[in-house]
């Protein structure tokens, strides 16, 4: 079964700092890759996704992620964070080849200090 690792449990940044959250997955074939965000007290929402094509994908609120196949990575980035980006971020991949169910990483909590 596919596994996904998120390197940081809790990241604390000041406003305007740059953000990069790491995500690595175990499956080497064609994958669909997702980042979801959970704002405090809310349910998960899709931030961005990669299915094919340009490995640099752009999502909502200025987030982007780069798929690097050779490194099995899909890191999330934002050049300048805002206080409103305070949330928990989850990387997700299909459970296995051809699977529609997603396996989620353990999440990275981002705290942005005004």
């Amino acid at each position: 079964a596919q596994s996904v690792s998120q390197h940081n449990h809790h990241v604390i940044l000041s406003e305007a700092a740059s953000l990069e959250l790491g995500c690595n997955y175990s499956y080497g074939g064609t994958v669909n890759l997702f980042w979801y965000v959970q704002y405090p007290g809310q349910h998960l929402q899709l931030l961005l996704k990669y299915f094919s094509g340009d490995p640099l994908v752009k999502g909502i609120k200025g987030f982007e992620a780069e798929f690097i196949k050779s490194k099995f990575s899909f890191n999330l980035r934002k050049p300048s964070v805002q206080w409103s980006d305070t949330a928990e971020y989850f990387c997700a991949v299909p459970r296995g080849a051809g699977s529609y169910q997603l396996t989620f990483g353990k999440g990275t909590k981002l705290s942005v200090i005004p």
Partner: protein, 114 residues
């Protein structure tokens, strides 16, 4: 507003009691899922259903059962609740037939088993 409705929002339950968490979607998605979210463990898949009339086991199915009698409803039942089932439960759905398979989540049900 199209989406997923979960009930109850919150429940405190005595150990050994039976509990059913309800989930209804109005997007006509073919696939539905139940995840549990626990601090430090992220989201873990309990059960899923690719289409009405079929169900499958996820990563942590023990102690839970599901049914999918129609497209819209996907209840999760705890036959005899135990304290380790204290968690936040999220129902999700997706249109996996189109290939996009982006999960839409409900607001969650917070369950405490004493």
């Amino acid at each position: 507003i199209a989406g997923i409705t979960q009930a109850p929002t919150s429940q405190i339950l005595a150990a050994g009691r039976r509990m059913t968490l309800r989930c209804t979607q109005d997007m006509r998605h073919n696939a539905m899922y139940w995840y549990r979210q626990d601090l430090g463990l992220g989201l873990r898949l309990i059960h899923y259903s690719n289409t009405a009339g079929t169900t499958g086991k996820g990563e942590v199915p023990d102690g839970y059962s599901v049914s999918r009698a129609n497209t819209d409803d996907f209840p999760l039942t705890l036959a005899s609740a135990v304290p380790s089932q204290t968690s936040v439960y999220f129902c999700a759905s997706s249109d996996s037939i189109s290939g996009a398979n982006v999960l839409t989540f409900g607001a969650g049900s917070r369950l405490t088993v004493l």
